[in-house]
Symmetry: C2
Subunit: 284 residues, 2 copies
Amino acid sequence: MKIEIAKYSGYCFGVKRALNMVEKTLEKYSGSGKKVYTLGSIIHNPGVVIELSSKGLISTGDPEDIEPDSIFIVRSHGMSPKVLKRLAGKNIEIIDATCPFVKKAQAKAKKLEEQGYFVVVIGNRDHPEVIGIKEHVSGAGVMVIEDISEASAFLNKKKVGVVFQTTQTADKVKEIVSELIDKCRELIIYNTICDTTKNRQDSTRKLSGKVDIMIIAGGRNSANTTHLANISSSENSRTYHIESSDEINPEWFKGSEKIGISGGASTPEKDIIKIKNMIESIDS
Amino acid sequence: MKIEIAKYSGYCFGVKRALNMVEKTLEKYSGSGKKVYTLGSIIHNPGVVIELSSKGLISTGDPEDIEPDSIFIVRSHGMSPKVLKRLAGKNIEIIDATCPFVKKAQAKAKKLEEQGYFVVVIGNRDHPEVIGIKEHVSGAGVMVIEDISEASAFLNKKKVGVVFQTTQTADKVKEIVSELIDKCRELIIYNTICDTTKNRQDSTRKLSGKVDIMIIAGGRNSANTTHLANISSSENSRTYHIESSDEINPEWFKGSEKIGISGGASTPEKDIIKIKNMIESIDS
């Protein structure tokens, strides 16, 4: 049995940077009595979240829970500037770990609004990154489009500006944008899909097409990992999306020669290695 | 037999305006000894071209043929500003009958170039309107894309700006634009398809879907009439594109109850009426 890991796989630049900032912050304030918070999971990977929680990181769902005089880390997905302003007013130190690619999408959305465009964010409505981008546009002139049916229902507007959730697939955004073309006079599109996402998708597509079985490792709540799993499934019906090596079923690999592994942008390398080792142990 | 003419059919605003300017110019200079020229056919309708030629309008293919101290009418399709400048230098009076919608597409292409975009014109490479729009962009940063295969071959560029030939179909431009989306970081699209074109296409589609036979009247060299014929054919296999009532074959209508007629933007109303009368005469 031959196991190959996708050329681009695992932690992306933005996730590495955010985790690094978290580690440094926890170290700096260790023993100071100051609490260190994030709003929601720092990254969409349950294993990593548990590990950081054991080191003192408090993940809360409600900004009102964050105590004054504490430390607050903006996660890689970014967040609403309104909420951030409220926190800063409570004498909370803000450490901004927003992925620079997400920051760019936020800035483009804001600029489009200033230039008089109605802003469309193509992405998953409930994803924190999309919520954050949307909230960078202050007025009512913004909406999220998730799929082709929502794009078909879009009402004509003169000037429309579009940004993408950084982890969308090219096929999905193409489908949606083409619905908008004849519904406005002027359409400006900022392709804010990050290169990391594109590279991971391309190398997963390539690998899954040439193996018998494909394993996609990463959080089920991770948008980019789920996209990788969908891409892989469309190339290879024997695709399994797992969160950890514990989920591996030796039965999957019976009679298989070539196994591929890919991991989302929030999947630690050690998880991928562990999966590889586990499959090898089945083989022998 | 019931005959219905499409709600939007025949001469568009731009064509009417251009023909009006030609008539007025011919009248004004009649007997003055001054020659009145156009470059190519004033509109893409052979019948109209012959009629105006009998009134004195000279249609030439080569700008060098145009004599000094004459009158030159820029046709509704517009033209290259370079050629126009050369003519003006020869003491030729220029009367600009460029359709205002085409002028808008030319201006948008020029503006895009000034703002640093690589300009893409989606349209028929050899159509005078497209040649004219293209030549409003002075540098090398412009190309025409005719179909999806050319769009697929498009090489990545950072900033791309797109305008459409005014008579393109929405489906065609959607297909091409969606190919460009992930080939640039920033894509701005000016939807320069004119409302007239859209209305004619929509009403032709609607009518051809509910009749037994559909007649599309207009020049075979007319881009917009050919698009109407294609749209109609996809809804109704019994579609006939004719240039004049002489081409009508009574056999077509045997056993038919409902007949639809539509005409391109350069088709005179009298041609459409003549076709209607001819079909009625077959019926009786």
